[in-house]
Subunit: 248 residues, 8 copies
C-alpha cells in the first residue's frame, strides 16, 4: 500500500463510491505491509550522515565493486569494512573517489564532510595487534562525521603509558577501547573517565584467549559501571554506537 | 487507533471536512499501533482450540490461581505447566473444574473437548525419569484436542522394547520423543517412522549429561532426517508443535 | 530369511518333514535379519517421492559421480548437497539430466514432478549470507515435491521488511527460517504465523557467533511455541522435515 | 604527598633552603601516590547527581544498614541493589527517608531530585519475568536524575505489542532492553529506533538458556548496529550507562 | 509371540488348517515383538550373576523399598546405588537380608556368592574424597561375583604411595581408577600395568574442576593406551564394565 | 644401577670389603633410577606381541621412515597411524615389508602372525565417514594379534541394518563402536551384546557436532552399562584396549 | 622393604647363605615399594616450617576436630581451610591453642613462629568480596613463616587507589593478587612490580563471570609476563606457592 | 612534564616570580603524565639482564628484522619468539650476532652472559611434541641469565623415566613443566620436588584435548600445592616467571 493507494481509498469515500464502513473493512484486509510508507520517516533525522556500509569479508572484488558503486549513487558516504586491496582495486575502477584505509582494512568514499558529532571520540587500543580493530572504529566514526583521537598500545601491564595520556581520555565525549587477551583495559579506562566507554574485545591472543572469548568475558564483567560491550573484533559496531551517542 | 477512529476519519472525508490528501497525512502520523486492530485476525482460524497457558514455575499459589481464573473466563481450555500441588489447591478453590495431572506437574481445565488433531500423536520416553517431561507433552497435546498414545521406558539400550511397540509408532501422525542422557532415542525412532519426530532433550542424567546438553547435542546431530528439536525439558513446546502439525 | 524361506519351512511342516517343535527351533535359530522382510513396507507410502540423497562434502568428483549415477538408476529424484562445480561436472558426464543449483551448492536430478506437498512451504532468511542454507532447504523441498516460496534478507533489525511480506508467511502451510548471528528471526516469524516453523541456525557471523552456536541457542530458547530446530547449516534437514509435514 | 607538603617544598625553594635541582630530586623520590590529590577532581563535574551504590546481595541486614547510613551522610542519593525486605527493614530504622522498590529489589534514598538527563530513557522488557532486571535499571536511572518510561512484556513473538508502542521507543533519547531466553528483542528495537540501545541479557529461561548465556550471545551478535551489551541481569549497569549517555 | 504361539501356528499348518502362504502372512502381520522370544537368550550366559540394579537417587524410601523387594523376588543379587540410610531403613523392613554399605551409599542384597570373575579387580582412588565413587565400584563388582582389592588415597602428587603399592596393581586382572581434580591417576596407573584400566572421573574438586569436567578431559586424553573412561562419578558403570571384562 | 652394579655390591659384602650397614647406606644413596632394572619385567608377558607404534601426523616422510626403520629392528610388528602415502613411500624404501592400509591411513609391518587374542573383536561403524577411524582400530587389533570382523554403515537411524547383523556382534568377545554425529550407536550395540563395548566418538558431522564433542558426550552418558569410551577419533586406543581385553 | 630387611639380605650374603647372584635376584623380586625408605628424605629441608593442612569443607565438626588434633601431635603448625565456626568449636575443645581466623574461614594452630620467608609477601584484592580468598592466602603464608602485608579493595576501575599504595607492592618479594569479575588486577600489578605475581581468580561476580571462569581466563591471558595462576578461589595454593618462592 | 619543566617551576619560585601557592596550583593542573619521569626507576634493579622481546608470529621478515635491529641497539640480549627461518634470515642480515634456535623457533642475540639466576632451572616436557614449547622456555631462561637443564619425554604413562631422573629435578631451584594431552606431569613433578613448579599446558593432542584446554584444566586443578600455571603454549612466560623467581 503506497500513499497513493490509500489516497485512492479516501477518494472513493469522498466520491461516495465506498461507505466509511466499507473503507475500514478494505483497509483492514489490505496487506499489512502497505502501511509501511508511514514507518520510514522516523529515522530520517538520525539517518543524516549515516554512511552506507558493506561487510566486505567473503565477497569477491567484483561483488564488492558492484555493491559499492550502487551505494555510491545515494550521494552519502560509503564504507566497506573487512576489505582487502584486491577489493579496493576493483572498487577504485568504478568509484574514483574511493580511498583505501590499510590499517583499518576499509574502503571509504567520504563525500559528506559535515561534523555530526558534538565532541571528540577517543579510540584506545591495548596492543599494536589490536590496531586493525581500533582503526575500523576510527574509520567508521570519521565516516559518520566525528572528530576522532586515537591512543594505541597503552595496555594495562604498562599503566604509566595510559596515565601519561589521560588528557586525551578525559576530554573525549565517548571512548572506545579495543583489547584482546585479558581485555582489562576498558575497566581501567572506565575508572579514569566519566564518559560512556564502548568496549571491543579483539581476537588477539593465543591459547586460553579463545579468539576473543577471554577478553569478551572480562569486559562483560567490568567493575567499571560506564562500560558496555560489542561483539569480538566489531570495530565497526563500536564506531557506530559511539557516533550515535556523540550526536546526542 | 480503533476501527472507530479510522471510520471517523473516513466519515470526515465523506463529509468533505478533510481532503483525501489531508486524511492520508493524518493516517501517516497516527501512531502506528492504532492499526493494530487489523492484525489480530490472522491467527483466528488456527487459534481455535488453543489453550490459554501459564508457566507455573516461580509463581506463588495465589498468583497462579489469580491468573488461572482470569484466563478461565475466556471459555477455552486452560493449562498451567510446572505447577505443584499447592498451586493446584489454590486454583481449585477458584476454578472448580480444574484438575491436577500429577505426573505432568500440570493443572488443566478442559472444557473444549473437540478433536482438532487429525491423527494420533505418539509420545515416547527413553526412561522412567523422562516421564514428567513426556507427560507435559501429553497434557499439552490433549488440551489442544489431540488423541495421544504414550510409550514409556523404551530406551535404546533395550532396543527390543522399542521394536516390540513399533505398531504404536508407525500409526502415529506425529511422534514426540523425550530422552535424557545420550538422547539417542529420537534417531532410532526417526529411522523407524516416516512421520515428523519432535525431539525433547531432558535434563535426566548426571555428570557429563550436563543437565540435558548431551541429549540436546545428540538430537541436533540426529542422523535421522525427520527429527527437529525443542528446548531441554520443554514438553509443552513439543506438545504444542506436534499439535499444530497434527491439525494440518 | 525371505518370505520364501519361511514359506518353505511351513511347507516342510505341512509335509510332515518337520515337526512343529523342530520348526520353531529352526525359526529361533534363523538369523534375526531374515524377518526383516516384514519391516520394510511400513515406510513405503511415505517414501514415494523421497529423493535419494548424497552428502557431497569431502567426496571427490569421481566418487560423487559414481554414487549419483548409481542412485539415478532407482528412477526417482536424486539430490547431492554441499557439492561444488567440479563435482557437478563429473556427475553431468554420467547423468545427462542433472542440474546444478549454484546458490544451494546442490546437484539435482528431478524426474518425479508430482506435487506431494499439500500447501506451500515458505523459506525465509535473515540475511543474504544465509541464502546458501536457505536455498539448500528450497532445493530439498522442491525435490520432494513441494511448492516453495522464498523471502530473503528480512532480518529482525529491519522488521518492516518482514512485516511487508507477511502475506507470504501467513499463507504458507510450513515455514522454514534460516538465520545466523543472534538467530532471532524464527521467534518473530513464529509469532506472526500459526503454522509450524522449522528454524535453521546458520554459521553466519563472527566473534561471539561461534559458528552458529549463538543462533542455535537463540532458536532453542524461542519464546514462540511453534518453533522447532535442526542442526546448524542443516538446510537439507529443514527442507526434509518441512516436506514430510506438508504431506500430512 | 598532600598539597601542603608540596607547598612546603616550594617554600623551601623560595627561602633558598633547597636549590631547584634538589627540589626536583626530592619530588622525584616522593612516593607516587602523594600526587594523588591531583587526580580526584577530574570526575567531579560528571559525579554530580551520581548516587552512592551498594550491591546488597550477600550482605546481612546489619551490614547493609550500616553502609547505607554511612553513605547517606554524603548528602546525595543512595541506592542499594539486590536488596530484600529484611535489609530494607534494617536500613529504614537508621535512614528514615529510605524507600523500598519491591519490583526492583532496591532500596532508594532520593534526595537530589534534579533532572540531569536531557531526554527520556525508555526501559523495555521482553517478558514479565524480566521485570526485576528492568526495574533495577529504572530505579538506577531515576536515582541518577532521569525521566524514565517503561514498556514491559513486548517480546518478539508478539511483535504487534512492540509495534503498538513504537511511540514510546522513538521519542526516547536512550533505550534499555532487557530480555532472557533468546534475547532477540534488542535487535528488533535497535532496528526501530535511531537512539543507542543498551541490551541487558537476563537469566530468565531454562534448559539451553543457560542462565542468560543464550540471551547474551544473541545480543552480542545483534544485527542492529546501535546495540551494546552489559552483563547478565545487570540492570544497574544498564541504568548507569544510559544515564551518563543521557547527560551528554 | 511366545514359542507356544508360533508352535500353534506350525501345528495349524501341519493340520492343514492353514496353508503355508496363509501362515507366512499371519507371521508377517504378527506384532514384531512376538518374535522377541528369540532374542532374549543371547545374553543368558552372560546374565548369570548379574545383579538387579536400582538408581536410588531421587526416589522416595517407599518407592525404593517397593522396587527393591519386587526385584528381590528374582532370586539373584540386588543392588541399589546412590541410596541413603532412610531408603535403606525402608528396604530393610521388606527385605531382611539387605545390607547398607555406607561408604558406597549402596544397599546390597547378596545371595549369589559365586565367583564369576576369573581374577582380581583393583579399585584405586586418588584422594579420600573419591572413596564414595570408588566404593560404588567395589560394591558393584562384588555383587557381580568378583574379588576386589582397593587402594585409596594414592594420588599422583605423592607418587611414592602409589609405587609402594604396585603389587596390588600388577596382580589385578582389571583396574578401576577413580580421580577428581586433574584426573591424572589413570595415566600413571595405566603406565604401570598391562591390564585394562577403567577410569572414572569424579566431581571432587572446586573452581576449574567444573564438577568433574577437568578430570574427564584429562582421562579422555590419557597418554596411556590401555585406559577407557566412563561418566563422571559413575562408579557403578566402572564396576560393571570391569566385571564383564573379568569374566572373559 | 644395572644388575651388575648391585651384584658388585653384594660381592663386596661377601668379600667383607663392605659391612651390610655400609652396603645399605650405599644402596640408599644410589640414584633411584638404578633400580629401574627391576621394573621393566612386569609387563613382559603382556608386552609380547605388542606392536611398536608411531603417531605419524605432523611428522615428515623422512622422520617417519627413520623412526619406523629403527623400530623395525626390534623384530616385532610396527605400526604407524595417521600416516599418508608420502610417508609410506619413504618408509617402503627403508623397510621392504611395510604395507600401506589406505582406509586406515596406517603403515604396517606385520611379522609376528601369532594370535594373542582369544576371541574375535568386532569393529562397528555408524556411517561410511567413520570408516577411517574404524579401520585404524582394525589395523591396530590385527597388529596386536587378533581376529577382527567389521560391520560398517549400520547407524541407528536404520536400525534394521544393525539388527540384521546381530550375529557378528553377539559372537564377538569385545566390540568396538565408532560413531560421529549423535554417537548413539554404542548404546544400541551395548544393549544388544553382553560383551564389553569400547566406544570411539568420531569427528564426523558438522554444526553442533562440534568435531566429535556431541558424540563424546552421548557415549559418556550411554544408558548401556557395558560401554566405556576413548578419545575422539582414537581408533588406535580402542584397538589397543580391545586387544588387551581379548588376551585376558 | 625396610632398611632392616635389606640389611638382612646383605647379612645373608656376608654369611654366604646367599650368593650375590641370588641376592640380586631376591632384590629384583622384592616389591618395589620397599625401597621407598630412600625417598622420603628429599623434601626434608624444604618441609621444615610447612604446616599440616586440612581442607575443612564437607567435613563434620567431629571429623575436623579428630584430624586436627591428630596432626597437632606432629609439633608443627596446623591449618584448616574452609572451616566454619562449628568446626572451630569442635577443634577448640581438643586443641586449646587453636584460633579461628574468621575472614579467612580458617583454623590455625601456630606453634612454629620462625620466619622462613626472606622478604614480605604482599596480598592484594580487587574488591571487598575477594577478601575471604585473600585472607586464606594471608593465613597460609603466615602459617608458613612469612611476613605478610595486605592491600584490599584496590580494583582497576579506581586505579588511583592502587597507585597510591605502590610502595607496599614494590617492596614485596612476592605478590599475590586475588580478583573476581574481569580478573584484570594481576595484569596491572604485574606491570607495576618486578616480583613474581601469583594470581588467584575468585568466584566473585555474577552472570557472565561464570563463577570465576572470566577471571581465570583473564589471568591466563595476562599481558604481564611475571604472572602465573592458581585455581579459582585457591587462596591456600597462592599462599603456598608464594611461601616456597619467598624461602628461596 | 620533564624534570626540566619541573625545575623551571622551582626556578620561578626561587626567583619569586611564582608564590609557592601558585606553583602548587600549577603543578596540580599540569597533566598527570608529566610526572611520569618519576616512575620508571622502580624496576631498574630488576630490569638488569632482562632481554628485549619480540612476539614474532604474524610479523613479516622485514618487520621482524626492523624491530630486532632497533632493540639490539639497547645493548642487552634480544629475543624473538615464534619466529621462523625466513624471519631469521632477515634478522641475520641486519644483526650479525643473532642466532636461530630451531627447536624453540626463536631468534636470540645473546650479549649479556652474566648469570642472574642463583640456581638451576629445570625444564621438563611430557612428550617429544611438547619440546618446542619447552625449548622456548629454555631459550627465554638462558637469555635472562640462568643455568638451565632439560628433561624431555618423561610423561606420566612411563613414570620410571621420570623417576630415573629425579636428581635433575630435586637439585633445581625452579622447575618448568610442559605437557599437553591430560597435563598430568606437573602434579607428579610437584609431588617430587619442594621447589616452585611453573606448569605450561601445551596444545599437543587431538579430540578432547581441545588445543590445550584439557591440559590447562588439569594443571589448574593440580593436587600438588606448589604448582602455578601460565597460558597454553606460553613457554616464554614460563621461562620469564622462572627467571625472576631464580633471581630472588
Amino acid at each position: 500500500m503506497t500513499p497513493e493507494s490509500i489516497r485512492a481509498l479516501f477518494e472513493q469515500v469522498r466520491k461516495k463510491k465506498l461507505s466509511p464502513d466499507e473503507a475500514v473493512e478494505k483497509l483492514r484486509h489490505l496487506p499489512f505491509e502497505d502501511l509501511d510508507f508511514a514507518k520510514l520517516d522516523h529515522h530520517r533525522p538520525l539517518r543524516a550522515g549515516m554512511p552506507e556500509v558493506i561487510f566486505g569479508q567473503g565477497k569477491t572484488p567484483a561483488q564488492t565493486a558492484q555493491i559499492f558503486s550502487r551505494l555510491a549513487r545515494h550521494g552519502g558516504n560509503v564504507l566497506a569494512t573487512r576489505a582487502d586491496e584486491k577489493q579496493f582495486a576493483a572498487v577504485k575502477k568504478k568509484v574514483r573517489g574511493a580511498e583505501y584505509r590499510e590499517l583499518a582494512r576499509a574502503i571509504v568514499l567520504q563525500r559528506d564532510g559535515k561534523k555530526y558529532g558534538k565532541g571528540t571520540i577517543a579510540v584506545v587500543s591495548a596492543g599494536t595487534s589490536d590496531i586493525p580493530v581500533a582503526e575500523e572504529a576510527v574509520v567508521t566514526a570519521e565516516a559518520m562525521g566525528n572528530d576522532v583521537e586515537h591512543l594505541y598500545d597503552v595496555g594495562v601491564a604498562g599503566i604509566h603509558r595510559l596515565l601519561a595520556n589521560r588528557g586525551t581520555l578525559t576530554k573525549a565525549r565517548v571512548v572506545i577501547v579495543c583489547a584482546g587477551m585479558e581485555g582489562a583495559l576498558p575497566s581501567v579506562v572506565g575508572g579514569l573517565v566519566g564518559a560512556p566507554v564502548i568496549a571491543v574485545p579483539t581476537s588477539v591472543g593465543y591459547g586460553a584467549a579463545f579468539k576473543g572469548v577471554a577478553a569478551l568475558l572480562g569486559m562483560m564483567n567490568s567493575c567499571a559501571s560506564n562500560v558496555s560491550v560489542v561483539n569480538i573484533d566489531n570495530g565497526f559496531g563500536a564506531g557506530y554506537v559511539a557516533s550515535i551517542i556523540n550526536r546526542l
